[in-house]
Symmetry: C3
Subunit: 308 residues, 3 copies
Amino acid sequence: MRLQPSQTLQQIAGMIDAAFAGNPDFAVTGINEIHKVEPGDLTFVDHPKYYDKALKSNATTIIINKEVDCPPGKALIFSDDPFRDYVYLTKHFRPFEPSQSMISSTAIIGEGTVLQPNVFVGNHVIIGKNCIIHPNVSIYDHSVIGDNVIIHSGTVIGADAFYFKRRPEYWDKMESCGRVIIEDHVEIGASCTIDKGVSGDTVVGQGTKLDNLIQIGHDSVIGKNCLFASQVGVAGCVTVEDDVILWGQVGVQKDLTIGKGAVVLGQSGIAKSIDGGKTYFGSPVQEAREKMKELALVKKLPEILGKL
Amino acid sequence: MRLQPSQTLQQIAGMIDAAFAGNPDFAVTGINEIHKVEPGDLTFVDHPKYYDKALKSNATTIIINKEVDCPPGKALIFSDDPFRDYVYLTKHFRPFEPSQSMISSTAIIGEGTVLQPNVFVGNHVIIGKNCIIHPNVSIYDHSVIGDNVIIHSGTVIGADAFYFKRRPEYWDKMESCGRVIIEDHVEIGASCTIDKGVSGDTVVGQGTKLDNLIQIGHDSVIGKNCLFASQVGVAGCVTVEDDVILWGQVGVQKDLTIGKGAVVLGQSGIAKSIDGGKTYFGSPVQEAREKMKELALVKKLPEILGKL
Amino acid sequence: MRLQPSQTLQQIAGMIDAAFAGNPDFAVTGINEIHKVEPGDLTFVDHPKYYDKALKSNATTIIINKEVDCPPGKALIFSDDPFRDYVYLTKHFRPFEPSQSMISSTAIIGEGTVLQPNVFVGNHVIIGKNCIIHPNVSIYDHSVIGDNVIIHSGTVIGADAFYFKRRPEYWDKMESCGRVIIEDHVEIGASCTIDKGVSGDTVVGQGTKLDNLIQIGHDSVIGKNCLFASQVGVAGCVTVEDDVILWGQVGVQKDLTIGKGAVVLGQSGIAKSIDGGKTYFGSPVQEAREKMKELALVKKLPEILGKL
C-alpha cells in the first residue's frame, strides 16, 4: 500500500509511541508486508530468524523488537510487539469504511459496463468498460477491474486475506490493506472468492477464465490466459504463470510457482513448485505419466507378489 | 428445540391424532432428535434396531411404531409413521416464517455492529456487539452470533440440515428446528455455508477462523481457536476439539471426533475419529509421517520389484 | 434453443454474410451444439476430424469451413470461422438482456411460492407452485423451476457454460443459449452453482437433493432421487442416472455416465463412466471393495517386502 501523502519517520513512530533510529524526517512512502517491500516502505519483523532478511530487504523503515544497529540509508522503529504496531498502522491508514449504499459514490464505473441488480461495489473500486457484473456479486473496497470482464453471481472480490498470527491464547488478525486486480477479458464464474493482498495485489491476468466455486488466496498472481475448472483452490502467495490449466478440484498450497503452460489433472494437490509445459496428476502431484504407471503397478501388486 | 410454553402429552398426541400411554398431563418441554435429547424432550423412533436406545434415552416422550410397554416416568405416543409425525410437530412448533424485509424486526443487533448493505437477517436472530457483516450475507432465522464476529460476503448461516429419510419412492425431508451459534471473535470467510442443527445447535467456537468456501454440516460443534483453510468440508454431527488446524480441501465425514490440536494436511479425508496432537495426511488419513513413508515406498516399487 | 419464429437458410446466411448450399427457403428451426441437435437445427463444425459427424448428425443446416457436397435434405453454410459465426447467431437470437429489477416482469411465479427478500429472478424465468427461494439466490434468464422446489441462499442457477475455444492468443467464449431445468420436489443447498446448457438443458431430476457448495456443469442431466453431499463437483455433459448417491467432495469429469443407483464414497474422482448398483472409492475410482484391498496391501508392503 502506498501512503499518500507520505509520512515522516517521526510521525509514524509517534503514532505508535515508539523510539526510533534514523533521521526524524526520513520518508515513509508505503506500508508493506515483507514479501512485497519496495524502497520507501515500512515493514515489520518480530522473529530473530527473519531479522537479517528484513534489515536487508528493500524496505527502508523496519519495526523491530530488538535494538540492532540501523543499516545505512534506513530507519528503525523499536517495538515490543512489531506485529501489533504494524497492524495498528495498517488500520490507521486503511480504515474500514462502512458503505452507505450498494454502489459506492467513490466507485468509478466504465462506459458500457452493465451492473445487474444487487451488485455491491465498495469504496474506491474501479471497474472498466464493457463489463457484465451479474446479480449478488460483492466487490470490496479498492478492487480494480479491467475492461470486458464478466463476473457471475455470488462471486466475492477482495475479502480479507486469511492471515493470522498465533498468539498463546488466540489467533491475531493481520489486517489486509492490499487489493484485487482483475485484468481485461477475464471471466469469473459463480460463487468464486478472490481475496485481497495482505499489502500488495492479488492479480488475475488478462484473458484468464475461472469456472465456479474457485478460491484464489491473498497475494497470488495468476498469469494470462489460464483456465481453472470448478472448485479449484489456490492458497496465498502463489504464482501461476501464463497458459496454465488446472482441472476441477485441484488444490495449490501457498508460496509456490506453477510454470507456464502446465496442465494439472483433476483433484491433484500441488505442494511444491512445478515446471511448466508438463502434465501432472496426484496428491501430491507427480508427472501424470509417472503417476499413471505407479497406479497401474499398485493394481498389479497382488499378482506380482503372488508370483514372488 | 425448547417448547415455550411446554405442552402436555395429551395436547401433543391430539395434534397428530395418535393414541398414547402415560399421564395425559405429562409435560413435553422440548422436541429433539435422538442425538440431542434431554429430560422433558419428545423424540421418535421407527426402526426396531433403535427401539431400545430411544426408550432408554434421556427423552421422556417417544413416538414409536410399536405398542411396547411404557418405561416408568416416561410417556409413549403410538404412530404408524413416527418420522412423519415428528416432522409434523416440528413444523407446527417451528413454522417457516417468510420475511418481510432484509432485516427482520424481530432481530436483535448489538451496539457497534456494522451490517453492510444487503445483509439478510432473519427472524429472531441475535447478533452481538462490534461485528462486521459484509454484503450479501444471509443469516437464517434463530441464528445466534456473538461479539466481535466478522462474516464475509456470500456466507450463509443457518440453512436447513441435509437430512432425508429414504422412502421407497422419494427422499423425505427432516425439518430442522435447530440453530447455528457463532461464538465471540470468530471470523468466517466468503461464501461459507454453516447449516443449522436438526434440533440442536451447530456451533463454531470462540476465536475460530474459517477461510472461504467452507462447509459445516448440521449439529457439528467446532471448538475454540481452530483454523480451517479454504474449501474444507465438515459433514453433520462432527466434533472438532479446540486448536485443530484443517488445511485446504480437507473432507470430514459425519459422526466423528477430531482431537484437540490435531493438524490435517490439505486434501485429506477423515473417515474415522482421530486423536489430537498429531499431524495427518491422506484419504483416508493416516499419520502424516507414516503416509509419507508409504508414498516414498510406492515410488520405489519398480526398482525394488526389479531387484527381486 | 428453438427459433421462434423459424428462419430460412437465406436469412441465416445473410446475417453472417456467407455463401450457402441448399434451398434458400430451407427452414432453420433451432440452433444447437453438436451434442444436442435435432432435425431443423443449425449447428457448426470447424475441424476436419468432426466433418463427417456433423454432416451425418440430426442437424439439417451446418456451418462448415470447407466446400463439401451438401448431403440430401440438408443445407450448408460456408464460413472461414464457423465458431465465430455460430456464436454470432447465438448472441443475435438470445441476446443478453440487462435486468431492470430484482424480479423480472417477464418471470412467471406459481401460486404459493415464497420468494424471500433479495432473490434475483431473471427474464423469462418460470417458477412453479409452493417453492421456497431463500435470500440472495440468483436465477438467470430462461431458467425453469418446477413445483415444491426449495433453493437455499447464495445458490446461482443458470450462469454461463464454462466452454471456451482455444485461439492462438486467447480463449474464445462459446455463448450459451441453453437453460437450467429444476424438476419438482428438488432441494438445492446453499451456494450451489448450476450452469445453463450450451444450447440444450442442464437438468436436475425430480426429487433429487443437493447439499451445499455443489457444482453442476453445463448440459449435465442429473436423474431422479439422487443425493449429492456437500462440495460435489460435476463437470459438463455428464449423465447421472436415477438414485445415485455421491458423497462429499466427489469430482466427476465431463462426458460420462454414472449408472443407476451407484454410490460413490467421499473425495472420489470419476474419470470414466461407471456402472450402476455398485459402490466406488478412490481417485480415480475403483469398486470400493477392490480399492480398500489395495490400500490395505500398500500398508503391509514394508512387512511383505521385508520378508522377501
